[in-house]
Symmetry: C2
Subunit: 381 residues, 2 copies
C-alpha cells in the first residue's frame, strides 16, 4: 500500500514544432505530481519514462489494486527520492497510449484517430513538451531530471537543450545512442508489428482489430534483451513447465519432454508467452513503433561529427550516472562514454557501476546498493 | 571455382525408432561425398550440418553458379580437411527441406505432405540415421565426425552413442545444451512462424501459401544472435541506408534522417530485412520448428541428473574443441564445459579459443588462425 495519487491533464493550444520539421497543432499531456512545490519553486524533480511506462511513476489510484506506479520503490515519502522534500513530476510522453496525445487520439485535421499519421517524435520533442509543462507549473529551474533507459536519454537531452535550467541530471542504465544491435532488435520488433495482417498500415483502429500477434512477438524480443543471460538461467534455466507445476507424486513423469514444436515445453517459453500476451492487451502498436524509433534516432553526437564531448560542451548540470554490470542492452561501457564526455568538459559527475545480476531490468528493481546510491545522492541536494 | 559434386539419395525401408517414442516408417537421406574411401575404409569423415545448412558441404554443382557448399573453405582438395586424403560425407538431416525426408514430403499414411505431423526429431535421431548411412556405405569406424553449432551437438551425440566407432570428434562453436536465453530466442522465432495466419497449423502446403512473414522475423532474430555486437558496429554501426547508397554530390542530404517508423532508415535494418526475405524464399517453416526444437531438446546430461561428466563417461574419441571469443550465442564458456567433462574422464582433448570478431558466424568464415588449427589437427590424423 502506497499513497494515493491521481492523473491530471494539461492542455496545450500552441503548436509544438518537431525535430522532423512537422509540428503537432495542439496536444494534451497526462501527468502526476507527488509532494509539494516549495515557495521558492526550487525542489522540482522531473521523471522521464522509458518504453512501456507512463506518467504514473509512484503511488496508487484509490480503489484500484495493483495500480502501483512503476518507480514506486524509488519515489515517495521516505523513499530514495523523498517526496517529503521534493516535488516530483511524472509526465506521459507524446505518442504514448497512456493519456498524452498519441496515435489513438483524434487527429483534428481528419476527425479520425491519428494512427500511422501521428508524426514521428524524437527524444528532444518529448523534452520540449515536458519543458512547457514544467514552465506552465511555474517552475523556472528544475532541481533534477531523472530517468532510466530511454528515460536517461531524455535526461541527457534536457541537460543539453536547457543547460541553465537543470541542476542535476540522473541518468540510469542508459546510452548516448543505440548500437547497431540495439537498432536491430527494435527493427525486428517493428517488422513483427507492421507485417501483422491486423496492422492495416497503422490504421487498425478503423478496422476494429489490434495487431496482437506482432505486439506479442515485439514484447518477447524486448524481454529477452531486458534480462541477463545469468538471471534467465537462474530463474528459468532448462526447467520444464510441467515439472514446475507438477505435484510431488507426478514429478518423475513431468521431467520428460512432451516432444512438441508448438506446445510450451520450457518455463522460459511460458514466461515469455505470458509477457507477450499481457503486453498485447494494453499497449498500442503505433506507440511501440514511435517509441522504438525515438530510441533509434537519439544521437546527440550526430550533429557534431560523432563527437559526444562537443555535443555536451554546453552542459551545466551535475550528473549522477548509474549502470549495471550485467546490462547487455545498455552496457556499462555506454554509460562510461557519457562519463568521459562530461569529464572532457570538466563537468561534475558521479558514476556507479552496480554489480547486479538482473541485466537492464535492474534499474526498476529493489537492488539495495542501487537504491542507497540514489538515496545518498538526493540526500545532499 | 571449386570441384564438381552431385547429390545422392539413399533409401531406407526399415523404420527408424525415434527418441520421442514415435518412429519414421521409411525415409530417404540426401548426401554427398568428397574424396575416395581407402581400401581399409579408415579415412571417412562425417560432417554434421547446422540449422539452415545441408548435405552440400563442399564443391559446386555443374552448370550452377553460386552453388558452393557451405563449408567449401574448410573441405576440399588441399583444404584444412583435405579430400585428397579423406573421404568426407555430408548428410542432410531428417526433417530438413533440402532433400532428406521432411515435412514437405508425402506421408505414406495419408498420401499428403507430412506438414506439422512430421514427428519431432532429436539430435540423437539424426545421428542414428547418419550411422545407418555410414554403415550402408560399408564403413564400420569413422576417422572423425565434425560439425559447428548444432553440428557440434551431433558430434557429441556420435561420440556418446557410438563410442567405439568414432576416432576423432571435432566440435566447433557448440554447447552441451541451450541456455534459457538460447531457448528464448528459438521460441520467439517459432511463435512468429506459428502465429503467422499463413501457417495453418503447419499444413500451409495444402493452402498453397507459405508463412513468409513469420520466417522473415525468425531469420532476422537468428541473424542478430549469429553476429557479435562488435562486428555489427564495425559493419553497420549507425550508418544510414541513404548515406551508404548516396553518390558524392548528395552525401550531405543523405545524412539526414527520413523520420519514418516503417521505412528502412539504417543500414542494419536493410541488411536484416534482406536476410529475412532471402531465407523466406528457400527455407521451410516446419523444418525451422523441428530444427530449433532439436536444439532445445539436446541435453545429454539430463539423464544423468545434469552431470555432463557422467554423460560422457563412455566416450573414447579424441576431441578437438574450438570456440570463438565473441560468440555470445554459444560462448567459449559453453565449450569449456565440454572440455572439463572430457578431462574429468581423462579423455584426450585439444581446445582452442579463437580470438575472432565475428561472433557465432565465425565458424563458417575464413579466419586464418581457425583454419590453420583445423588443418594442423587433420594433418596428423
Amino acid at each position: 500500500m502506497s499513497f494515493y495519487v491521481r492523473t491530471q491533464i494539461m492542455q496545450f493550444n500552441e503548436a509544438l514544432p518537431l525535430v522532423s520539421g512537422l509540428s503537432l497543432p495542439a496536444y494534451e499531456l497526462a501527468y502526476e505530481t507527488y509532494g509539494e512545490l516549495n515557495a521558492s519553486k526550487s525542489n522540482a524533480i522531473v521523471i522521464c519514462h522509458a518504453l512501456n511506462a507512463s506518467h504514473h511513476v509512484a503511488g496508487q489510484y484509490q480503489g484500484q489494486d495493483n495500480s502501483l506506479g512503476w518507480w514506486d520503490n524509488m519515489i515517495g515519502p521516505g523513499k530514495p527520492v523523498d517526496t517529503n522534500r521534493f516535488f516530483v513530476i511524472g509526465v506521459n510522453n507524446l505518442g504514448s497510449c497512456f493519456g498524452s496525445t498519441g496515435p489513438m487520439q483524434i487527429n483534428p485535421e481528419t476527425q479520425k484517430p491519428y494512427g500511422a499519421d501521428f508524426p514521428v517524435i524524437t527524444v528532444e520533442d518529448w523534452v520540449q513538451a515536458q519543458e512547457r509543462l514544467v514552465t506552465r507549473l511555474g517552475i523556472e529551474n528544475v532541481l533534477a531530471v531523472m530517468g532510466g533507459s530511454l528515460g536517461g536519454m531524455q535526461v541527457l537531452a534536457w541537460s543539453m537543450l536547457y543547460p541553465k535550467r537543470v541542476g542535476h541530471a540522473v541518468v540510469i542504465a542508459s546510452a548516448p545512442n543505440l548500437t547497431a544491435e540495439n537498432i536491430a532488435f527494435n527493427e525486428v520488433a517493428r517488422r513483427a508489428i507492421v507485417t501483422d495482417p491486423d496492422f492495416y498500415g497503422g490504421h487498425y483502429y478503423q478496422h476494429g482489430v489490434i495487431p496482437k500477434r506482432g505486439l506479442r512477438i515485439a514484447r518477447m524480443i524486448g524481454h529477452i534483451t531486458y534480462l541477463s543471460d545469468d538471471v534467465m538461467n537462474t530463474r528459468f534455466g532448462r526447467q520444464l513447465r510441467r515439472a514446475a507445476h507438477a505435484i510431488s507424486s507426478s514429478t518423475q513423469e513431468a521431467q520428460h519432454y512432451l516432444y512438441s514444436t508448438m506446445e510450451v515445453e520450457f518455463q522460459i517459453e511460458s514466461y515469455l508467452r505470458h509477457q507477450g500476451d499481457k503486453f498485447a492487451e494494453y499497449f498500442d502498436a503505433n506507440t511501440y513503433l514511435l517509441i522504438t524509433r525515438a530510441l533509434d534516432y537519439f544521437d546527440p553526437a550526430k550533429a557534431f561529427g560523432g563527437h559526444l564531448s562537443q555535443a555536451m560542451a554546453n552542459i551545466e548540470a551535475k550528473f549522477l550516472i548509474i549502470s549495471f554490470t550485467t546490462d547487455w542492452r545498455f552496457s556499462p561501457s555506454r554509460s562510461q562514454e557519457i562519463v568521459k564526455a562530461l569529464l572532457d568538459n570538466h563537468r561534475q559527475v558521479s558514476y556507479v557501476n552496480i554489480d547486479a545480476p538482473h541485466g537492464h531490468d535492474a534499474f526498476l528493481l529493489d537492488d539495495p546498493q542501487y537504491l542507497s546510491v540514489v538515496r545518498s545522492y538526493f540526500k545532499h541536494l
